[in-house]
Symmetry: C2
Subunit: 256 residues, 2 copies
């Protein structure tokens, strides 16, 4: 790559989140940065797109700012689509999403707006990485992640990514010295056991909050959950071909 790479930055916690500010700061050391991120929190939006409503795009960086920043009224996936097709004059060399406040390991990849933004970039042929930190709090300390974020981004810019894949990178909540390094993993086979917190409105009507407990029966040492629990940064290659290829011969034996 001759000139500085063009890097698109997005997230799902919204453009004002500390996590995206950290990611922007690191990306400015590496290339030209453009930010298109949701104008409000969009956690749990998965791969949602806005098909039945209008979308609004608002430039939020000052004219003299070195980076171009836009807030978008849509989902994280909408942000990537708008960035690529409305804001940028050429396809970015990389898309990074996050750093999410809270981990997106295991099955959470499928609910995560952070990861869906990265997946959308992947579908559009852009190398992409989603970053998440195992700390939900708004005041989470992202400092320990910085050198690792830079390292893996430079590696992806140098080597590219295998066809049809993006990376899901999760950081344990540790100091820089405590982090043991990167570990390539598979998604742990875990799930959420939902619990609905049932309440009553002041007007006597029932309503619910979705809560739940994360259940991980998968004890494999090659999983992202194992890596995080053992002080490693988990790196899962994620694909958007959802075909269960191994199931095709099984189904072909059915009498349909």
């Amino acid at each position: 790559m001759q000139s500085r790479p063009l890097i698109l930055v997005t997230n799902d916690d919204g453009i004002t989140a500390p996590g995206i500010r950290t990611l922007i700061a690191v990306m400015q050391e590496i290339g030209e940065v453009c930010v298109v991120a949701p104008d409000r929190p969009q956690s749990g939006m998965g791969h949602a797109i806005t098909v039945n409503d209008t979308l609004h795009l608002q430039r939020v960086s000052a004219t003299e700012s070195p980076i171009l920043e836009y807030s978008c009224s849509g989902t994280p996936v909408d942000c990537v689509k708008m960035a690529v097709h409305e804001v940028l004059k050429r396809k970015p060399d990389l898309c990074v999403s996050g750093i999410n406040h809270g981990s997106n390991s295991s099955i959470n990849v499928i609910y995560s707006g952070t990861m869906s933004a990265a997946v959308e970039a992947g579908i559009e042929g852009i190398p992409a990485i989603g970053f998440s930190l195992q700390d939900f709090s708004w005041g989470a300390n992202f400092e320990p992640t910085k050198s690792f974020v830079k390292k893996i981004v430079l590696e992806v810019l140098d080597k590219g990514l295998p066809q049809g894949t993006v990376l899901n990178v999760n950081f344990p909540k540790l100091t820089e010295n405590e982090i043991k390094g990167f570990r390539i993993c598979r998604q742990a086979n875990a799930y959420w056991q939902e619990k609905f917190d049932k309440r009553t409105t002041p007007f006597g009507k029932e309503y619910y909050w979705l809560t739940g407990e994360f259940i991980n029966p998968d004890k494999g040492e090659d999983t992202d959950e194992w890596a995080l629990a053992n002080g490693y940064i988990s790196v899962v290659p994620v694909q958007f071909d959802m075909t269960a290829h191994h199931a095709i011969p099984v189904l072909n034996r059915w009498e349909l």
Copy 2:
């Protein structure tokens, strides 16, 4: 299965859509039916869940109705979670989603609320099928799909599904006689070329509608797109392990 199977029905077009009415009618021939579906259209919601807002559940069937029907204020995935954890007394034997007004073949599996509901059921260990018809119109004719829906549902109830998979079934817009039968497929490697239709509000502010063109460079005769274009019902086994297992050895050679 000794007693009649318990079947959960949902969709993303909303509880009043003709597509779900067809699916309910066919399922009533097979088992005990419970419906939990969105109270309004939720197309394009992907695997979104409601984490920052409350959820409302409303019984809509009469007390003497043979089926239990609830509308839910959430996404298709929320509907499945609420059905399994709040409405039903036991885990359903099957979850069917749709019949969607419009196809969900190829990459659309990832944006589709219909398929995300089926995938959520799969994550919760329930055999699940998403059904879609290649006709977006509200007045689409679902009659030709009925005998095929019944056939594949009975097969799934009889044989089960391979571990960690659900089915994505798409119907071509043809008469029952014209349909050549089922074809087991992989997801075609296609994508959307977005176009944003930029407009101006009466108050002079710009806004956008997301539109786009479906681009399919994948000419494989083993794809769902090929099947639909050639008069077959496409059946794609879909998995929710998004790990690109083939990419793990590649990444392990990196110096991270």
